[in-house]
C-alpha cells in the first residue's frame, strides 16, 4: 500500500472510532440533526482550513486568517449598517480585499525572501488592527438578505439540516481536493513543499505559485469571514482570535506534514470534524468544561506529530533495506 496514505487513514480511523465511542454513550449523536450541525458549526473553520492546507503543503504558514475573518465580519457589518449596498456586492468587495491581502503577503514572502511566519504575523496584527479601526463594537447585521440566507437549507430525513454554509464548506472541500490533486497548480504546491530550490530548477514558477497560494488562503479566509457573519449575524473585531491555530491543528490532525510536501485536503475535513466532534461530545455531556476541547486537541496533535515522525523513520529504514 502507498505509504503516503497512512496518516490520512489513521485520521479517518480515529474519527470513526471516536464517533463510535460517542455514539455508544449518546446514541443521539448519530441523528442527522447532529451531523447537520457538525457541518454548520464548523463551516467557517473548515473553509479557512482548506486555504491553510495549501499554505502548509507548500511549506509555509498563514497566521493572519483569524484576523482576516474578524476583519471580514466587521467590514460587512459596517458596510451593511452604514450604506445601502447589497450584501452580495459587499461580499464581492471584501473577497477582493482579502484575496489581494493574501497575495501581497505571498509576494513579500517570495520577493523579499522573508519567512512566511513573520510576514503573516505582521498580516495578523494589521488585519486585526484594521478591524478595530472599522469599529470596536459588536455590530448586529439585520439585513433581510441574511435572514433569507439562513432560511435556505436542505432538509435531511430525521430532522437534520444541511444549511447553506454547511453545504458551502463541503463544496469548498470538494473544489480544494480537485485543485490539489488534479491541477498543475496543485502539483506545484506539493513541489514547493518538497523543496523550493529544486522546484525552481525543475521549472516550477515559484513566485507565481507562492502568490497564488497566499492569495487563495486570503480568499478562503474572506469566504470564511462571510460564512462566520452569516452564522453569527454580527461583526465583532475581537471574534475568531486564534482560529488560525485551530486551522493549523485541523490540517496537522488531518495528516498533513507541517514541513510541507505531503498531505491531503480531504484529511483536513476529517481534522475539522474531529475537533467538532469533541466539541459536540462536551456539549452532550454538559458537565465538562469546554476547555476540554483544547486539552484533547492538544493531545491529538501531539500524537499525530509522533506518528508522523515514526512513519518518516520507518520509511527511511525500509528504503535502506530494500
Amino acid at each position: 500500500m502507498n505509504q503516503k496514505y497512512l496518516p490520512l487513514i489513521a485520521t479517518i480511523v480515529i474519527f470513526i472510532v471516536s464517533y463510535a465511542v460517542c455514539a455508544a454513550q449518546y446514541p443521539n449523536i448519530l441523528s442527522t440533526r447532529v451531523v447537520g450541525n457538525l457541518l454548520t458549526d464548523n463551516a467557517f473553520l473548515g473553509i479557512a482550513a482548506v486555504g491553510m492546507t495549501f499554505v502548509i503543503l507548500s511549506g509555509g504558514i498563514d497566521l493572519s486568517i483569524g484576523s482576516v475573518i474578524a476583519f471580514t465580519g466587521i467590514f460587512l457589518a459596517v458596510m451593511l449598517e452604514s450604506t445601502s449596498i447589497h450584501p452580495l456586492a459587499a461580499f464581492a468587495l471584501v473577497l477582493v480585499i482579502t484575496t489581494l491581502f493574501g497575495a501581497i503577503m505571498g509576494a513579500i514572502i517570495h520577493y523579499l525572501e522573508m519567512p512566511a511566519f513573520i510576514v503573516t504575523l505582521a498580516g495578523m496584527f494589521l488585519a486585526r488592527g484594521m478591524a478595530f479601526v472599522l469599529s470596536i463594537d459588536s455590530i448586529p447585521i439585520k439585513h433581510p438578505f441574511y435572514a433569507a440566507m439562513k432560511g435556505f437549507y436542505y432538509k435531511l430525513p430525521g430532522g437534520g439540516r444541511i444549511t447553506l454554509i454547511g453545504g458551502l464548506m463541503v463544496l469548498v472541500f470538494a473544489l480544494g481536493i480537485l485543485l490539489a490533486q488534479r491541477t498543475r497548480f496543485g502539483t506545484n504546491v506539493y513541489a514547493l513543499g518538497g523543496g523550493a530550490q529544486t522546484s525552481a530548477l525543475m521549472g516550477v514558477p515559484v513566485g507565481r505559485t507562492t502568490i497564488l497560494i497566499y492569495g487563495l488562503s486570503g480568499f478562503l479566509a474572506g469566504l470564511s469571514g462571510i460564512v462566520y457573519s452569516l452564522y453569527t449575524s454580527a461583526g465583532y473585531s475581537l471574534a475568531t482570535v486564534g482560529v488560525e491555530l485551530d486551522a493549523i491543528a485541523a490540517v496537522v490532525i488531518g495528516g498533513t506534514l507541517l514541513t510541507g510536501g505531503a498531505g491531503f485536503v480531504g484529511g483536513t475535513l476529517v481534522g475539522v470534524l474531529i475537533q467538532g466532534l469533541i466539541q459536540t461530545y462536551i456539549t452532550f455531556d454538559g458537565s465538562l468544561s469546554s476547555w476540554w476541547t483544547k486539552i484533547l486537541i492538544g493531545a491529538l496533535l501531539f500524537a499525530f506529530i509522533l506518528m508522523q515522525k515514526a512513519i518518516l523513520l520507518l520509511s527511511r529504514q525500509n528504503k535502506r533495506y530494500s
Partner: protein, 533 residues
C-alpha cells in the same frame, strides 16, 4: 583532417591554445560536434577558475571530463548549463551560438544535467517528477491516467518497470538517477551532462546506469560524464578531456590514452622534481614514534600499517576519492577506527575522537578550509587561538594578552599578510588563510601534524612558503603527514610517500624511489581482478 579532429585525436596532445581566428572557424564548422565551448573564461574574486578552456562534444559520444578538485570541471559545467555566467568565450549548440542565462534556459535549449544528489522531488510521484510543468491536461485538469501511461512508456525505454504513482523518494538512488536522466533527456534531448552520477551507486547499479548511457549514446546524444573512477572512464567513454588548475590539459581518444599518461595529465609533472631535502637521510633512521598497525574502518578505508618517525614527512598520494582524506580523518579520530591499534612512543594510544587526538598532541589542517577550517567572521587572532583554547578547555580561557602575543608571534613567524590581527579572516587571501590555520595548530605545539592539501587554491608564491614551512617544522622534530595532489611538492619534501587507490594503501615509496614517475605508475597500475571502484 580538420583542426578539431587533430585536437581530438590529439597526438601530440593539444595544450589548449586556440587564439587564431582561423582555428575557431574550423572548430565551429565541424558538423559532428553538437556542443562546442571555445575560450571559456571564468574568474572569481582572487582566482581564475577557467582560463580560456576549449571543449567539444560530438553527437553519439560519451566524453569524460576529468581533473582533480579545483581543476575547473564543475565550473566549466556550470558555465555550459548557465548556472554561472561565463566572463568570456562562446558556446555553440548544434551550429547556433547560445547564451543560456540559467539552467532552465539551458534545459530548453537542449542541455540537460543530472547531478550526484538527485535534483528531483522525493515527495512527488515518479510520474509527477517526469512531467512536472507539462502534465497532460483536459479542461484544465491533469489526466492522471494518461500521465501514468506516458511515464511508464518513457521509463520502459530505459528498461525500468516501476509503480510510477509511488513517491520518488521511496526508490533507491539508482532508480532516482534513471528517472532524473529520463526527465533530462525527454526535456532536452541533445546534450546530457552526468555529474558524478555513480558516486553513491553499487557495482550492479553502475552497470544498469552504464547500459542506459550506452543506449543514449546509440541514440545520438552527446554525453558529458564526470567521475573520479578511472575504471569507469575506460569502461564507458570515447574521449577524455582533462582540466588542471582551470586550464585545458588536453582532449584525447580514450582507447589510445594509456592509463599512466592520463594520470600524468591529471596530476601533471612537467615541472621536474625539485631538489630532494637533504635532511631526509638522518631523519628517517630515528625510532618510530607513531605506529598504526592494521588500522582501518570498514567502508571508509581498508586497514593499513603506518610508522612515522620523529621529524619525518610522510606524503600521501592518490587520486580524488582514493581515500586520502579518509586516511587523514581516521588518524585524527574524525572517523573511529574499527580495526587495528595505534601506539605513540611504544604505548597504546586512544585516538577515538578529534578531542582525544588533540590531547595526544595531534593536529589536522583539513582540505576544504572554507568548510572545515576557518571561521570567516572571527578575527585572525581568534582563529589562531581556537585549537589551543579548545585543548585547555573553556574553564581556563586564554587572556587577551596571551591571545595577542600568540597571534602576533605566528603572524610574524609565518608571515601572515594581514593589516592587523583583528581583521576577519575571510578577508585574507587563500594562502594567508591557510597559514593562519597552520598557525592554529602550531600554537598547540603538536607532535604529529596532518596537512590535507595545504597548497590547494593558493598562489604559487604562497606554495613555496608553505613548503618551506613544512621543511622547517620537520627539522624541529615534528612528524608530518602531508596529503597533496601536487606530486612535485610531495617529492620535494617527503621522506616516504604512501600511494592510495580505491580506498586502500597500495604502495609505499622510500628514498630514491620517490619520483613523480613512480608515484604516477603506482596510482595508475590497473587494479587486480575482482576489484571494482
Amino acid at each position: 583532417m580538420s583542426t578539431a579532429d587533430a585536437i581530438a585525436c590529439g597526438s601530440p596532445y593539444f595544450t589548449g591554445d586556440l587564439r587564431f581566428p582561423g582555428t575557431l572557424v574550423f572548430m565551429l564548422n565541424n558538423t559532428n560536434d553538437i556542443l562546442t565551448a571555445v575560450g571559456i573564461v571564468k574568474t572569481f574574486p582572487g582566482a581564475v577558475a577557467l582560463d580560456k578552456v576549449n571543449f567539444s562534444l560530438r553527437r553519439g559520444e560519451v566524453h569524460a571530463l576529468l581533473g582533480e578538485n579545483g581543476a575547473g570541471k564543475s565550473t566549466l559545467i556550470k558555465c555550459m548549463t548557465g548556472a554561472y555566467r561565463r566572463d568570456a568565450g562562446t558556446l555553440t549548440l548544434d551550429g547556433t551560438e547560445i547564451d543560456p542565462h540559467d539552467t532552465l534556459d539551458a534545459q530548453k535549449l537542449g542541455i540537460g544535467t543530472v547531478y550526484q544528489e538527485v535534483n528531483l522531488l522525493g515527495n512527488l510521484s515518479v510520474a509527477e517528477n517526469l512531467f512536472l510543468g507539462r502534465q497532460p491536461r483536459r479542461f484544465g485538469l491533469v489526466q492522471t491516467g494518461e500521465m501514468k501511461k506516458r511515464a511508464n512508456a518513457l521509463l520502459a525505454q530505459y528498461g525500468i518497470n516501476i509503480n510510477v504513482s509511488a513517491a520518488l523518494g521511496s526508490f533507491s538512488v539508482a532508480i532516482q538517477q534513471v528517472v532524473a536522466i529520463a526527465r533530462a533527456v525527454d526535456l532536452s534531448g541533445k546534450v546530457l551532462i552526468l555529474d558524478e552520477p555513480t558516486a553513491s551507486l553499487d557495482a550492479q547499479e553502475v552497470e544498469m546506469l552504464f547500459r542506459i548511457v550506452r543506449d543514449l549514446r546509440a541514440r545520438g546524444l552527446g554525453i558529458v560524464f564526470i567521475t573520479h573512477f578511472l575504471e569507469q572512464v575506460y569502461d564507458l567513454t570515447d574521449r577524455i578531456t582533462v582540466l588542471r588548475n582551470g586550464q585545458l590539459v588536453g582532449t584525447r581518444e580514450t582507447a589510445s590514452l594509456p592509463r599512466r599518461e592520463l594520470v600524468t595529465m591529471m596530476l601533471g609533472h612537467e615541472l621536474q622534481s625539485a631538489e630532494k631535502a637533504v635532511a631526509e637521510a638522518e631523519s628517517s633512521s630515528g625510532p618510530v614514534q607513531f605506529r598504526f598497525s592494521n588500522y582501518g574502518k570498514a567502508g571508509t578505508i581498508k586497514p593499513f600499517d603506518l610508522d612515522v618517525r620523529k621529524g619525518e614527512v610522510v606524503g600521501i598520494a592518490g587520486l580524488l576519492g582514493s581515500g586520502r582524506t579518509e586516511t587523514a580523518e581516521l588518524l585524527f579520530g574524525v572517523h573511529k577506527a574499527d580495526s587495528g591499534t595505534a601506539e605513540i612512543g611504544g604505548k597504546p594510544a586512544n585516538l577515538s575522537s578529534p578531542r582525544a587526538a588533540i590531547a595526544a598532541r595531534f593536529g589536522f589542517c583539513p582540505e576544504d578550509r572554507k568548510v572545515d577550517g576557518i571561521i570567516g567572521e572571527l578575527s585572525v587572532r581568534e582563529n589562531i587561538a581556537l585549537a589551543l583554547q579548545a585543548r585547555r578547555g573553556w574553564a581556563r580561557p586564554l587572556s587577551a594578552a596571551e591571545q595577542n602575543a600568540l597571534a602576533d608571534r605566528y603572524i610574524k613567524a609565518l608571515d601572515i599578510r594581514t593589516s592587523d590581527r583583528e581583521k576577519p579572516i575571510r578577508l585574507l587571501s587563500g594562502g594567508n588563510q591557510q597559514k593562519a590555520i597552520l598557525a592554529r595548530w602550531l600554537a598547540t605545539n603538536p607532535e604529529f601534524l596532518i596537512l590535507d592539501e595545504p597548497t590547494r587554491g593558493i598562489d604559487v608564491g604562497a606554495h613555496a612558503e608553505i613548503i618551506r614551512l613544512i621543511r622547517e617544522l620537520c627539522a624541529q622534530g615534528m612528524s608530518l603527514i602531508v596529503i597533496s595532489s601536487e606530486l612535485e611538492e610531495l617529492v620535494a619534501y617527503s621522506s616516504r610517500v604512501l600511494v592510495l587507490r580505491d580506498r586502500a594503501h597500495v604502495a609505499e615509496l622510500t628514498g630514491s624511489e620517490i619520483t613523480t614517475e613512480h608515484i604516477v605508475n603506482a596510482i595508475a597500475a590497473a587494479p587486480g581482478a575482482g576489484e571494482h571502484p
